[in-house]
């Protein structure tokens, strides 16, 4: 534990600290905190299934007609039989429990267009998006934090204004447009990055272990495949990172500005510690704690960005799958993607909360 965090926590003692001391809690605070977070996350996931279920049943068009086609839908007997087979004659609450038990057994329905099970398709495309998401989050965390730190340390200089303006522009641009422009400039005109897809068309994908081509090719010892996959990853993840760089820059700037004003930083400076030590050991470390929470949010916007940009790069991931589903109004596909992204987002935020709880003891007693 750094001097900084202890210092700042004694500076603002939480008021319920007193109550904690009077009545010893049943469980250690960290364990209690983790259990509460697990409970909340499970409740949220349950809520997410209700949302997707209700939306599926909101559809103004009759799902039976969509499945049967015109001629069969004209016959009332067939329609009634199909309704019964699909369970649509049951009350909504029964239908929900059917839906939930299907979900728990891994049945997310079948695509209206391709007739393949949604879960199977999502399983195939999911690793591609994860690979893209990890690449983008690494880029945006590194660049975003450094820009935010620089901006805050040079507050109200030209550098600060430039970084603030750039980060505002970064969160103002539609990601799918940046993707198109980036692809046009760097592939179509300059040819500095490989074209669309996750690999060049003549390269066979590495044997599937994780589904991440970069990892799998390394595991299989195929260096040339790795270089190719890595090259294909660069542009899409940079494009995707642009929005989150803006977000993280802005947040880390304000976080660093909050820390800089604290007494322990002044004390460190007064002690005559070298500027670099003050910046990285004192300011940056203290500022990092609140930033962790934003990384979860950033991951959510990366997932959203992926849905909109993958199509541009013909990146065969969750996003392209969702795009195809949306343009053909393939409801089971859209709901499946919504459900999976909702759950992943909840899990990521759960992990972020856990890290936050470990790093900052003050959070646990809330």
């Amino acid at each position: 534990m750094s001097v900084g965090t202890t210092d700042s926590s004694t500076a603002h003692p939480p008021s319920n600290d007193e109550a904690q001391r009077i009545k010893p809690p049943l469980l250690p605070p960290l364990l209690r905190y983790i259990l509460i977070r697990i409970g909340i996350s499970l409740l949220l996931i349950w809520g997410v299934t209700i949302v997707t279920f209700l939306l599926t049943n909101l559809v103004p068009t009759d799902p039976v007609a969509a499945i049967l086609g015109d001629r069969a839908a004209a016959d009332p007997a067939i329609v009634a039989a199909t309704r019964e087979r699909l369970g649509l004659d049951q009350p909504l609450i029964v239908q929900y429990f059917t839906y939930l038990s299907n979900l728990l057994q891994g049945d997310m329905g079948v695509s209206n267009q391709t007739r393949t099970p949604v879960l199977q398709s999502i399983g195939q495309v999911f690793p591609a998006s994860i690979e893209l998401g990890i690449g983008a989050i690494l880029i945006s965390v590194i660049i975003g934090l450094l820009l935010g730190l620089a901006s805050a340390l040079k507050q109200n200089t030209i550098l600060d204004h430039a970084i603030r303006a750039l980060s505002l522009i970064g969160i103002s641009a539609p990601t799918f447009w940046i993707a198109a422009v980036g692809y046009y400039v760097f592939f179509f005109k300059l040819r500095v990055v490989p074209g669309a897809g996750r690999l060049d068309p003549w390269i066979t994908p590495p044997p599937r272990v994780t589904g991440l081509y970069t990892v799998d090719s390394l595991l299989a010892g195929q260096m040339s495949t790795f270089i190719n996959a890595f090259g294909h990853l660069i542009l899409p993840s940079c494009v995707l990172a642009l929005f989150t760089i803006g977000l993280l820059t802005r947040f880390s700037r304000s976080s660093v500005l909050d820390i800089i004003r604290l007494d322990y930083v002044t004390a460190a400076r007064a002690k005559g510690l070298p500027a670099r030590t003050v910046v990285f050991k004192y300011i940056f470390r203290g500022a990092l704690v609140p930033i962790i929470t934003v990384v979860g949010l950033a991951f959510g916007s990366l997932l959203s960005g992926a849905v909109l940009t993958e199509t541009v790069f013909a990146w065969n991931g969750l996003g392209q799958y969702a795009f195809r589903g949306a343009t053909t109004l393939d409801l089971p596909v859209i709901m499946g993607v919504g459900l999976v992204i909702g759950i992943v987002y909840i899990i990521v935020n759960f992990i972020v909360d856990l890290i936050y709880g470990f790093v900052d003891p003050r959070v646990r007693v809330r």
Partner: protein, 313 residues
Amino acid sequence: MSIGTPKQPPTHTTSASAEAADRNPVDRGVKRWQLRFPKALRTPLGFIGAIILTIWLIVALFAPLLAPFNPLAQDFPRLSAPGGENLLGTDTLGRDVLSRLIVAARTTLPAAVFVVICSAVLGSVLGAIAGYFGRAVDEIIMRIADLVFAFPTIILAMVIAAALGPGLKNAIIAILLVSWPSYARVTRSLVMSARNSEYVVAGRLLGFSAGKSLIREISPNVLSPVVVLATLDVGSAILTMAGLSFLSLGVVPPTPDWGAMISEGVSQFAAWWIAFFPGLCILTIVMAFNFIGDSLRDSLDPHTAQEVGETTS
């Protein structure tokens, strides 16, 4: 004491009175709603944003006069490059890109402002109810808000828009449903802190009803943060709307729309102008709202500004 009544003329806050306001929670209540808009727009970013926004408002207002051609007429050679008769080129159906861009401002801008006003009103009312009454009402409203926050914005908007079917009206409903919770959160916490201020308690002792207390006494505390949040939110509403159109869940063709034009342009890489210019339109207009909103937030008192926080979409 007329504290908190919106009729009080705005006074200049000197640093001394700001300090006094900081010490005295009652006075801070007054200062919060006195957002000095003109001053906020005097910062470089705010100024640039205001100018860009004014230009866009003029374009949207006078679109029929400014557009050189009929945005729907397929009168020109297909995919002709910018320059010449069609200043920004033509699209795959031989329509004038510039005219389509100009006319699209008329749907996007009012729709975005409309949806933000609706969600700000809906969210603040729900948040105020949750914050003022607490208990079960609070729990129900805020748990629904949590559920909306459990999804990344555009994913939930996509799911809702897909269930309702494509179209501008449904896209607006989708964005409304995903964007009210941030107002509810901000309003709730501001109302909760204002509820126990001395002047509000005094009003209650005088026998003010909950409605009167909320509208006359508490709402001035909430107004300016909500306005700031709304300004920042117009930008993200435009982005979400463009995203929905890009997924062909927004404005239905042939009505010109920026997101849909980018979607069309993506499949026509050689004709870069189809996708490039609409993206520039979205970028500049969202940027304008973000610049203005950012400057407005800086003019809030720091404590309140923290409630408004960063926008994410």
